[in-house]
């Protein structure tokens, strides 16, 4: 009796745990956030959430601070991602050759990636310290003028991009190295016969064959950089003067410092839309590019 019922519904039963997991841990929080985004609520036990319709969205979209945060998020993401991809490919090319101590160098390159972000943030805070930090010591030893780094509204965002590039370029390099290993050797042999130079081989063979890998790596990184929180919160908390406040940081401030759960939720919904949109764009671009070589 039971067995036959089980047998008939086995395909549903097997996936059930995964479905429940997705529903409870992913879909529910997202839908709940969307719901709260239409309410005004300070988490009070006495005053229930108040329905305000699209007011939270209106507040945000007409606010200078929100658009500045959006700008910071986008410029931080794009600059960091592009630098990481370029450096990552370059490092992968270097490491793909055979040389002594290659494994040691590979391990060292991966270290920033495995370090705890908050701890790294605090270390960089010290490095960037204008009076006693290592960054300014280096500049001074090269005869350059010391900078204010994180303490200057104009330099803070760039300083944070450097930290992100330092930390995550190895990930791109790792993925690209895996991609390099899958490239067959025949095209290179053919190119040798034709007398192509190193640069020509790189541009005409390696890059086109690596393109799918690079795009995947860039997409993974894009989603991650957009969501960067830890290193910013550990170093500047969005300052000085909000110059490093990204959407993620602003959302945190709205929720846990201003206790405006409704506004914070509507910001997160907008942010979710932004991440979704950019990701879909990247997927679409990848498909289009792949089509070129069919």
């Amino acid at each position: 009796m039971y067995t036959s019922w089980f047998d008939r519904n086995l395909k549903w039963i097997y996936v059930l745990p995964a479905v429940i997991f997705v529903l409870v841990m992913m879909l529910f929080p997202i839908l709940y956030t969307v719901r709260i985004s239409f309410f005004e609520w300070s988490m009070s036990a006495i005053t229930p959430p108040k329905w305000v319709g699209f007011d939270n969205y209106k507040t945000l979209l007409t606010q200078e601070r929100f658009w500045k945060a959006t700008g910071h998020t986008i410029s931080f993401t794009l600059v960091a991602m592009v630098l990481e991809v370029i450096l990552g490919v370059a490092i992968a090319m270097l490491l793909s050759r055979q040389f002594r101590g290659k494994n040691f160098v590979k391990t060292v390159f991966l270290l920033p990636m495995v370090a705890t972000p908050v701890a790294m943030g605090l270390v960089w805070l010290l490095i960037y310290e204008p009076t006693i930090g290592a960054a300014n010591m280096l500049l001074k030893s090269m005869g350059l003028k010391p900078l204010l780094w994180l303490a200057s509204p104009n330099q803070a965002l760039s300083s944070l991009i450097i930290v992100d590039v330092w930390q995550w370029t190895p990930m791109i390099a790792l993925i690209v190295m895996a991609g390099l290993a899958t490239i067959p050797s025949e095209p290179y042999e053919a190119a040798d016969v034709d007398g192509a130079g190193r640069w020509r081989k790189f541009v005409s063979i390696t890059l086109p064959l690596l393109k799918p890998t690079i795009l995947v790596a860039a997409m993974l990184r894009l989603i991650d950089v957009l969501k960067t929180f830890d290193i910013i919160y550990a170093t500047t908390q969005g300052g000085p003067n909000l110059s490093t406040e990204t959407l993620n940081i602003y959302g945190y401030v709205l929720g846990f410092q201003y206790f405006k759960l409704g506004t914070a939720s509507s910001l997160l919904v907008l942010f979710f839309g932004l991440v979704m949109g950019l990701t879909l764009f990247m997927i679409w671009m990848r498909k289009r590019m792949e089509g070129q070589y069919d």
Binding site: P17, A18, L242, Q257
Partner: protein, 452 residues
């Protein structure tokens, strides 16, 4: 066969992971009392149950990582022995503490029963959200407790809508820290007014030798509490009778003084400094003057943290045109969770922790308390340098009972005020429009409060 077994395994694993995640989410803090103060053998099965009305009961206490918590933890076993109650303690850093409390209260949790909170930062919001149990009915029950002995302004800080939201445990005032050796070498008197401070800071400021005149908090939100005494000294305030007043000429003058001191005579990078960095650079001997809370004095006088430990002087906050008006506030209090299952037990703990005897003991460890009798007791001041005691006694006289805008949404209000000062520090010359805009923002926050 092999394949289906693999699938079973995969499904089972997912289930197990999901279950453990859910368990992780729903778990409360009952059992994970991380602190070392609990003896593992819990119920002391002695026969004197009549003398121990709380035998077998237990409460959960959540504290900040604060010197007061370090001082009280070793004393808790005595309390447990006397009452038969068991106290589970957990400690968190300030920011995590607020977050943890917020999340637990939102979920309607019965724990913690007793917790440390910052009356001026979270008091109003927590109270209006119905998370705090008013303590008015308890404080006068036991005449031995002597509630009247606790400083009026300290209690005032912890009062919301006429109800006592919590009992003060730490009080603080803003004072001036200075380098005795530098002032002596330059033949400068300890500044008594803000104008004298500016002149002295300018004289001692010598960046080419790595020496800076003045340091204080420069981060947007943290600086607000420290600029408040400058504000009061000019006769200004954040708000008066529900009207925002941070764009008045007096207020702008105070902000400009503070911002300009930091811009012209401060160390590089001051824009990103809160108190740990400010005390850090002062402790490295690179700065002549520092203004901040007296409760943090150990950061300047502890040889492990400061290279100038024996050269630090203390002075009352310099006077502005309206006199010396430092803040004199309750920075930390103890409160009872409105949902606590055993409020009597929770109060019993607070009563003990804020009793004359225990306040004396915690104050001896350098935690400035709120009890007048303890301050009058010579033993009560042994935890502080004598010079500092004199300064504290002086500061309490003209003190103002708040150090930030007294609204529900303190976080947002602080950011509005902080922006003015940060703009001055980044060299903005025309500050009136900035102040007007910030004033509007603050007014909007005040108006929101009225609807609650």
């Amino acid at each position: 066969m092999n394949k289906s077994r693999k699938r079973w395994f995969g499904g089972g694993l997912t289930l197990a992971l999901a279950a453990s995640l859910l368990a992780g989410c729903g778990g409360n803090s009952d059992n994970n009392s991380a602190s070392g103060s609990n003896s593992p053998s819990a119920p002391a099965a002695s026969g004197s149950a009549a003398a121990k009305p709380f035998e077998g009961k237990s409460i959960n206490l959540v504290t900040a990582n604060h010197p007061w918590a370090e001082a009280i933890k070793p004393l808790i076993p005595d309390f447990e022995a006397a009452t038969g109650m068991k106290v589970n303690v957990e400690s968190f850093f300030e920011d995590q503490l607020t977050q943890k409390l917020t999340v637990q209260f939102t979920a309607g949790s019965e724990t913690p029963d007793v917790f440390m909170f910052r009356p001026l930062q979270e008091g109003k919001l927590f109270f209006k959200n119905g998370w705090l149990h008013p303590l008015d009915e308890y404080v006068n029950k036991d005449p031995n407790y002597d509630f009247a002995d606790i400083s009026k302004s300290a209690v005032g800080t912890a009062t919301v809508d006429g109800k006592i939201a919590g009992i003060p445990i730490i009080t603080e005032q803003e004072i001036l820290y200075y380098r005795k050796d530098l002032l002596q070498a330059a033949g400068i008197e300890v500044p008594k007014t803000i104008d004298e401070l500016v002149v002295a800071a300018k004289k001692l400021h010598d960046p080419s030798k790595g020496m800076y005149g003045f340091v204080a908090r420069g981060q947007r939100s943290p600086l607000v509490t420290q600029v408040s005494s400058f504000l009061y000294g000019e006769g200004a305030d954040f708000l008066k009778d529900d009207k925002a007043t941070i764009n008045t000429p007096e207020a702008v003058k105070a902000f400009t003084t503070y911002g300009t001191l930091l811009k012209d005579y401060g160390p590089p990078g001051v824009l990103n400094m809160s108190w740990p960095q400010a005390f850090g650079i002062f402790g490295q001997g690179k700065v002549a003057f520092l203004t901040d809370a007296n409760s943090l004095y150990k950061n300047a006088t502890d040889p492990a943290k400061s290279q100038v430990a024996d050269k630090v002087g203390f002075a009352p906050f310099p006077a502005g045109s309206a006199g010396s008006k430092p803040y004199n506030i309750t920075s930390w209090g103890l409160a009872v969770n409105a949902k606590s299952a055993d409020k009597e037990a929770a109060w019993e703990f607070i009563k003990w922790a804020t009793s004359k005897e225990i306040v004396l003991k915690t104050q001896e460890k350098g935690n400035p308390g709120a009890r007048a009798s303890v301050w009058d007791n010579p033993e009560g001041t042994t935890g502080f340098p004598p010079e500092l005691v004199a300064v504290i006694k002086e500061s309490v006289k003209g003190g103002v009972d708040h150090d930030r805008p007294t609204v529900i949404n303190v976080g947002e209000a602080r950011d509005a005020v902080g922006e003015i000062v940060q703009k001055i520090m980044t060299g903005e010359k025309n500050i009136q429009p900035v102040a007007d805009k910030a004033n509007e923002a603050l007014q909007a926050i005040i108006d929101q409060d009225k609807n609650k």
